[in-house]
């Protein structure tokens, strides 16, 4: 009886031990699996971002090949490119900084329109500068869980200008097609620059978000 009791205790202990080992084993397997899943998800995000940037550059080259220095046609092409590849809602939200939260729905809509016009206007004005340049992707890296930075260089076909280092910041959120959020040229983020300029304008106008929208609309009209 005593022996049986001892045996049972041993069995129970062995069972508990094996159960504990099994749990550790299972937990390890789960961790490895989850880790690999995260890694695979990251890789697929990076692939998606690379494909998006590559496809966009193909489209840019196609537009440049057909470009006849007509501002209206150029604006239409750039607008289509922007709407297809860029994430306007996130660009608007980011570039408005902390003032986005205080803005009402009408202001947010007006601001989205204004910032879209400003960005497209900037690209149209500088579109010539892309002519004769070739983009080559160099590497890509995940930046947190939602962003991928696709790095590359623009090289001058005639080799008269030094290469320009460019990074495309792509949002690759779950269940949504990837979109470009920002362009970094030689370590300078276009979106951060726009955001800091916007915040400066709002602060100079005593925190009025509407002042920024008015200033953007005036600038866009004077440039058109």
């Amino acid at each position: 009886m005593i022996c049986h009791e001892k045996l049972t205790s041993k069995q129970l202990f062995a069972f508990a031990l094996s159960f504990k080992s099994a749990r550790i084993f299972l937990a390890s397997v789960m961790l490895i699996w989850l880790g690999s899943q995260t890694s695979f998800a990251g890789n697929s995000q990076i692939d998606d971002a690379n494909k998006l940037v590559t496809q966009m550059m193909v489209d840019v080259e196609s537009i440049l090949a057909q470009d006849i220095n007509d501002d209206l046609a150029r604006r239409e092409n750039v607008s289509a490119l922007f709407d297809r590849y860029f994430d306007l809602p996130t660009i608007a939200k980011f570039s408005a900084g902390p003032y986005w939260r205080a803005a009402d729905a009408d202001q947010k809509t007006a601001y989205e329109t204004a910032i879209r016009d400003v960005i497209i206007g900037t690209v149209v004005r500088n579109f010539d500068q892309l002519s004769g340049l070739k983009f080559t992707a160099t590497d890509s890296q995940a930046k947190g869980t939602q962003l991928v930075l696709v790095n590359g260089t623009f090289t001058d076909n005639k080799q008269q200008q030094p290469p320009i280092v460019v990074g495309w910041r792509v949002i690759t959120a779950d269940n949504a097609s990837p979109r470009i959020l920002d362009v970094e040229i030689e370590n300078i983020s276009m979106l951060v620059t726009q955001k800091q300029e916007n915040i400066a304008i709002i602060r100079k106008n005593e925190g009025k978000f509407s002042a920024l929208i008015d200033a953007m609309n005036q600038r866009s009209q004077s440039n058109n």
Partner: protein, 268 residues
């Protein structure tokens, strides 16, 4: 008699220039310190306590650009052939190599220091106008502002300096030190070397304006607030230069921090 001959013009230029330039920097600091700082609530950027004065100086600099620098740079672009412009760019880069060698040494990057020294010696045969090395991009430019940053010297306030443009306090101090290491500083007044040294300052401004002609025009004429845009670009450029010094492309940048903060905050 010997004492009498020791006039200002006979003092080696290597001694007079630093004093003059140091005095200029002290004068600038004094001018800015005398300016009343803008209250925090009225600043468009907290790093810019002298914003009201800085904006006035920026307007002055833009005037100088419109009436002097831009027309000269435009003429330079139109009339000087690419090869000539490249030679001038090479010479200006060459003149900065001693500073790069010195600062790389202080920063502990002996490889870059050695590269800068070799490039300086080889290209010195042509005074830097022709690049005789196989890989001109091998040397990473370093300045004393970066060295001060590495020594954890605070960045200081944002300063718009007449004719020289945007600087942080730390970077302006670094610029004074860097000017002492110009190889042509060792020529005495009246020499060709001294003349070239003096000509480097406007040449650098014209070459920079010409090399970035469309970009600067876009900032100047198409920004909503060109002052704020210039300030943002300046800080990002300096952050990029400091990141290059760390030689770690994978390290998070100041821009990464902004995006991290954006995605961390609750959606609305």
């Amino acid at each position: 008699m010997a004492h009498k001959e020791m006039t200002m013009s006979s003092i080696p230029i290597v001694r007079r220039w630093p004093l003059w330039r140091g005095g200029f920097a002290v004068l600038l600091f004094g001018m800015l310190a005398a300016c009343s700082s803008t209250p925090e609530a009225n600043r468009s950027d907290l790093r810019d306590p002298y914003e009201n004065t800085n904006r006035k100086i920026f307007a002055f600099n833009m005037g100088v650009d419109s009436y002097v620098l831009k027309p000269v740079a435009d003429g330079y672009r139109s009339n000087v052939p690419d090869a000539g412009r490249r030679a001038i760019d090479n010479h200006l880069d060459w003149a900065g190599l001693p500073s790069t060698a010195l600062n790389s040494t202080i920063q502990g990057d002996l490889e870059n220091a050695a590269l800068a020294t070799i490039h300086f010696a080889i290209n010195g045969l042509t005074l830097g106008f022709d690049d005789l090395t196989e890989n001109p991009g091998a040397v990473e430019k370093r300045d004393f502002g970066q060295t001060l940053a590495r020594a954890n010297v605070p960045e200081g306030d944002y300063l718009m300096v007449p004719l020289l443009g945007a600087h942080s306090g730390r970077n302006l101090a670094g610029r004074v030190v860097d000017s002492l290491t110009n190889p042509l500083s060792f020529f005495q007044a009246g020499n060709v070397g001294s003349t070239m040294r003096t000509a480097q300052i406007p040449a650098r401004a014209v070459a920079f304006r010409a090399n970035n002609f469309d970009t600067i025009n876009d900032i100047k004429y198409n920004s909503i607030d060109s002052y704020a845009r210039t300030r943002s670009l300046y800080y990002q450029m300096r952050a990029g230069a400091l990141r290059d010094r760390q030689n770690n492309d994978q390290a998070p940048s100041a821009t990464d921090d902004q995006f991290d903060a954006f995605f961390d905050e609750p959606a609305k």
